[in-house]
């Protein structure tokens, strides 16, 4: 049995509003399926289930109330047909057996432990079985690293729980999943009394104004954190796009409007491919170190009509062929503007790409979206006199910039990345 908690969908989210239950109590849910629609300060998001099971009951009904991240929204039970076993108590307190056995457990990884006297069979157990060939590893020094189970670590990152402040109830004081979820719940209860009383209904204009203010506040929080915590360094280079644009024009000329591509897709694909070569720029800064991502999920900065922006993820952009990438981008932009993004799109981006060229800007020196490691910016495509082989010729060029986290990479690496980007854009047919 698992509680479905209000997830943290990005560094700038602290609260959300339940718009709609997509699944009804009793329905089967597969991991990754959309279970509810949540309104964040920035957008409506379709939230995907964290675990498979059955939606047993909902704890919160859709409404106007703002709920803090970590609020339990529903209970997800075992797979259909298997009723969850009744529990003495539902809170994840340490089980009674755990405490007395704790000391004797130093060797638990070495062997099936001896049974506690109460339940041990009088005659042989298999304890001697394993004493022989694998001596226990020496204990790790206290304070060297927090003991946190992998799933607890991942969940803490999702819910924004600070592990350092948590007591662990697992063996050897390990912080386990239940500890993280209990802490998230406790944080919610603490914050509960601060909730303002529901105000009088607002007019449409006031609502729009309030919405704009919330979008601004969310962006303000994330960007202030970025500038406070991330030592940015900035690099820029001018890339000749003449070949790429000619290739694209020829490609588009053979196709009806619906199958044509935008040059932005070439830029996105080239960024993804260049990140493959320079993974130090792709991933997250967490708990004092860089956590590089295996996949390249490009966060595409999309301005919203009426103000604000979101940067949802284009998953596995490095692996998609250009027409497929175009289709996904089109879908993502449309859904971002219609307010129907999915939670994985809000949280998975490993790097952000932004372009302000459409409004005439020549170069963007962007602010990294925490906890990502880098942001790639593109300006306007302009025709410039360009010297090649000692002769001046008009070429179509764009300024590409990189903002990167100096804790995770150095300028030399950033320069290599921009160089790779340039090289890849000279061979559009192989993108």
């Amino acid at each position: 049995m698992a509680e479905f908690l209000l997830p943290k969908l990005g560094a700038d989210m602290s609260r959300g509003r339940l718009v709609e239950w997509v699944k009804k109590p009793g329905e089967r849910i597969a991991r990754g399926e959309v279970i509810a629609v949540i309104e964040t300060d920035k957008a409506n998001v379709e939230v995907e289930a964290f675990a498979s099971g059955t939606l047993e009951r909902v704890l919160v009904e859709p409404g106007d109330e703002w709920l803090p991240v970590g609020t339990p929204l529903a209970v997800i039970g075992a797979a259909a047909g298997t009723a969850a076993a009744p529990r003495a108590a539902e809170q994840p307190a340490p089980r009674p057996e755990a405490a007395p056995a704790a000391q004797g457990r130093a060797r638990a990884t070495e062997a099936p432990p001896k049974l506690p006297p109460a339940t041990a069979a009088p005659s042989p157990t298999n304890a001697p079985a394993s004493r022989a060939l694998t001596p226990p590893a020496p204990p790790i020094a206290e304070g060297a690293r927090l003991r946190v189970s992998p799933v607890a670590r991942r969940r803490a990152a999702e819910l924004g729980v600070d592990l350092a402040a948590l007591p662990g109830t697992g063996p050897h004081g390990r912080i386990v999943l239940a500890d993280v979820e209990a802490a998230a719940r406790a944080a919610v209860e603490e914050r509960q009394p601060e909730r303002p009383a529901p105000a009088a209904p607002l007019t449409a204009a006031e609502q729009a104004q309030e919405k704009r203010a919330r979008v601004r506040a969310a962006i303000a929080a994330a960007m202030a954190r970025a500038k406070r915590e991330i030592p940015h360094y900035y690099l820029g280079t001018t890339i000749d796009l003449t070949r790429a644009l000619a290739w694209l024009a020829a490609y588009n000329a053979e196709r009806p409007v619906a199958e044509r591509m935008l040059y932005g897709v070439l830029l996105l694909k080239a960024v993804a491919a260049a990140l493959r070569e320079h993974p130090e720029l792709n991933g997250f800064w967490r708990e004092g170190r860089a956590e590089l991502a295996d996949a390249v999920h490009l966060g595409v900065a999309i301005s919203l009509r009426g103000g604000g922006l979101v940067a949802p993820a284009l998953h596995d952009a490095d692996k998609l062929a250009l027409p497929e990438l175009m289709r996904r981008l089109q879908d993502l932009v449309t859904r971002a503007r219609a307010g129907s993004l999915r939670s994985s799109e809000m949280t998975d981006a490993t790097v952000t790409v932004t372009s302000l060229g459409e409004r005439g800007v020549e170069a963007v020196y962007g602010v990294i979206y925490p906890p990502q490691l880098a942001l790639v910016g593109f300006g306007k495509v302009v025709t410039r006199p360009w010297v090649a082989d000692g002769r001046v010729a008009p070429r179509e060029v764009v300024t590409a910039t990189l903002s990167a986290d100096h804790r995770a990479s150095d300028g030399h690496r950033g320069a290599l990345f921009l160089d790779a980007l340039d090289r890849l854009l000279q061979e559009p047919e192989s993108l």
């Binding site: 675990a51 498979s52 075992a78 969850a84 069979a121 298999n126 079985a129 022989a132 992998p150």
Partner: protein, 134 residues
Amino acid sequence: MALGRAAVRRAGEDVTLAAYGASVHKALAAADALAAEQIDAEVLDLRTLRPLDVGALVASVAKTHRAVVIDEMWRTGSFAGEIAAILMEQAFDQLDAPVARVASAEVPMPYAKPLEDAALPSAEGIAAAARALF
């Protein structure tokens, strides 16, 4: 019987007991004992080892976040070790405790029945290994 298709013999939420062959019955007995202590164990019958139903293993651990692997081979070099390694590789982010193994004593299999029982995994040993994960 479908090759490479594991079967959930008992559904549970708190820990996966992965077994094959004769150990499945011992795992079921261990699950009954654990149920009395409010530990809801899932018993996964692997049925075949090659092909191994990795998907079912990972799915079960994604639900329970804990695993005990039971194997009648000697612990050193046992298939249980292989399964533990697979779970570490493919379900690392799902684990809430190290994968535990229950295997046979590293002695030539005794002929006398009581001694043979002592050398093989037991329901009590499986339950104790599961308990130690909480």
